[in-house]
Symmetry: C2
Subunit: 448 residues, 2 copies
């Protein structure tokens, strides 16, 4: 008998997981706290566009969805940097032909829910997880009219996001639960660049635009409707901060001084600045993720991360793929499956969480630093010539789903030490593409 599966959370990860399990013949019930987003209009202003890359695509491919999703995705081949002095620069993400994809969260989520239903998943909206009875394997929901509903499960997945209600029930009835929840000092605010009067994209479309300003940054990702969704990552407090920019005049002066080339493209930014919410950026690490053969956390509920590596969704999708492979490996012996799922994914979740925080510094600060750019150029050259010996950290995370996040993190730390030596070589700016430097790097790599 196939187990009866309940999944809490019909977001991206919960929906994809339900497809994986329904396709295997499990009876899946997917419970979502919110109304059906396919019928209601989304609350706007806190979306941060998704950057779908190879890990996410690989997981979608396995359920036959990657081609369809590619149709609604806009390739971004690199970072388009808008410097403070008005100059711009393009920094490719990887080798020729490698790119990440700007995707609308709402569109992708709707497609996943449609597909889940086609495969037999039952979706229940407006059901808020209230309590879980771990003795009797029953989850209790609260409905909008204060009605209660309970559902028995053989197997429960908590795919209910960074502030997971199932995780809280798990934590409250666990004698040794590790939990870490912490915020970075910056919040974010969504702004919009509409199409030009002639109906075109207002900037280069196939890029992720960044205005790096050290302590803060503005970014912009393209949408299919020819708008860009901009996100300002900005300190809550301090000299330049949400707290200080408290009048329209101050916002105007700040933007005109710091994002001069963006201001003409954002006709409504002052209004949006005061109307759209300021959202915060949390990291969540916890342990354990599973309870015997009956419960597992997955996606943000297990490992919420900040968005600066574009890996939140990709990591959650990879959770689903890894879990699916383990179902084959252990012939549906769920205790073993969940145990190994946790053993594999916990260190990977921790690694991408730390890398994502580190990447904030890289995006807002180093992308405007000539030494950093030279280093990236050197690494790209070595990667091009010796792809078996050197893969830049960004490429390992973004374009190499065969490399685990935890391995990529270790590699990145080791490579960074090598590159710090290399960058200290006298005259590196002149001889960066010389045989001497190439030899030096390869020698250091081989000595690992």
């Amino acid at each position: 008998m196939k187990k009866e599966v309940v999944i809490a959370g019909a977001g991206l990860v919960g929906s994809l997981l339900s497809i994986y399990l329904s396709k295997r013949g499990y009876k899946v019930k997917l419970y979502e706290r919110r109304p059906d987003m396919r019928k209601e209009t989304m609350s706007a202003g806190r979306s941060i566009n998704l950057a779908l890359s190879d890990r996410g695509l690989l997981a979608l491919e396995k359920v036959g969805l990657s081609d369809e999703i590619k149709k609604i995705a806009i390739p971004m081949h690199g970072r388009y940097i808008h410097n403070a002095d008005g100059t711009t620069a393009f920094q490719p993400y990887g080798k020729e032909g490698q790119f990440i994809n700007s995707v609308s969260r709402a569109t992708l989520n709707c497609k996943l829910m449609d597909l889940a239903e086609q495969h037999g998943t039952e979706i229940f909206f407006d059901h808020k997880c209230d309590t879980i009875d771990w003795e009797n394997n029953t989850i209790h929901f609260e409905l909008p009219n204060s009605q209660q509903k309970k559902e028995e499960f053989d197997l429960l997945f908590g795919a209910d996001g960074a502030f997971s209600a199932t995780r809280l029930q798990h934590q409250l009835q666990h004698p040794k639960f590790e939990y870490h929840q912490y915020y970075i000092d910056c919040g974010y605010k969504e702004l919009t660049i509409p199409p030009t009067p002639s109906g075109e994209f207002a900037m280069e479309v196939n890029a992720l635009h960044i205005w790096p300003r050290k302590d803060y940054m503005l970014i912009a990702l393209p949408n299919l409707d020819k708008t860009f969704t901009c996100t300002l990552f900005f300190p809550y407090e301090g000299k330049f901060s949400f707290e200080k920019l408290d009048t329209e005049e101050k916002v105007k002066v700040f933007f005109e001084t710091n994002f001069a080339d963006a201001v003409p493209l954002m006709p409504d930014y002052i209004n949006e600045f005061f109307t759209n919410p300021t959202s915060s950026l949390v990291t969540v690490k916890c342990y354990p993720w599973v309870r015997k053969d009956k419960f597992a956390l997955i996606g943000d509920a297990a490992h919420a991360i900040v968005p600066f590596f574009g890996q939140g969704m990709n990591c959650g999708f990879e959770d689903c793929r890894v879990l699916d492979e383990l179902i084959d490996k252990y012939s549906e012996n769920w205790e073993t499956i969940l145990e190994e799922y946790q053993e594999l994914r916990k260190p990977d979740g921790d690694a991408i969480a730390d890398m994502a925080i580190a990447n904030f510094t890289e995006m807002r600060d180093k992308t405007a630093d000539p030494v950093f750019l030279l280093q990236k150029k050197i690494e790209a050259r070595i990667h091009e010539k010796h792809p078996d010996k050197w893969i830049p950290a960004y490429s390992q995370v973004t374009f190499s789903p065969q490399i685990r996040y935890s391995t990529a993190y270790n590699n990145a730390l080791r490579q960074e030490i090598i590159m710090q030596h290399v960058m200290l070589k006298p005259g590196i700016a002149e001889k960066w593409d010389s045989e001497e430097i190439e030899k030096l790097i390869l020698e250091k790599v081989s000595r690992r």
Copy 2:
């Protein structure tokens, strides 16, 4: 009009706080989840005796309780080390006349509740905090018969321990709550050394007994009834662990091998080992602790720490004293009081949490290390001769309530660096009490 104060948790800190506030004329209602411990018998087996030291005593003094408490306390002048080879050694905690106090948690708690009621505090037992309505300043309780009760407050204190229910309500309705909860790899188990057949203490009474064995340790604290409460701190998993000691025979062999001199004193240890619960040791750090002028966390609810510095209760009592001083300083302007309370106590709570974890290594491992003991001897000598220039870290924490925990922690780190240099001096074992070493240390101190 004095505010109406509700305190959640009638443990040590909640009870003491209610005394402080009742004495000031506030109307205090103290709500406790458990039944009245003065009427019911305590669930035994997870108490870890308290080590009351100067910070706790100072806080008790301010409400006139310290003399009465001293009557039920047993002075412990130092560590009495039981080495693996059967030798023993006594390590004084401080200078002549400095000591810490073994106190029964239950006795102390009962005395504090009595005094609270004498000062006008109303105590309600069997009231479990369910939810808090922060808009309407109302706390909802659940009673044993499933009845509900609500209580309005002007000011609410969460003194409800490491797994605080009020903290959870605070967290759930806070946009940027930092939360860290983590366990050490060891759990603990309570065992008992009864009086000798002639009714005497079975070991030296005025000491804290330690059997340091690197990865684990046994400790024993004296009680007024001439018993010792022993606590085994022991890994959950691994070669020697709770997991592995799963038969009476294995427990017997393990104890006879490792705690040979303790075994004859513990006639019932094998039974206790399997009957008493294995408890875990959590650290909790969180932020913020307060909500405007209406809520503050205090004691373990704000900063649960492991017991290895004997500071959990002392730190919580110090919270009460500091808060009381701030009430005077800011003439009952509660928003300012709570803000500064948090600003002062959060870094101190973090510091003692970290020092307490570090002290586990010291107790279970270093107290048996000759180099460490020599270092302590050198430090004690310098402290004796130059008390204004050098106070050992342990003494700063334990006997110097005028030094903040955070300051003590910084001092300790700096002193440790100095001592590492000193201990590397060739021939240090011979010249440890020489003028040369004394000069060297004083010179390094003055160069800070």
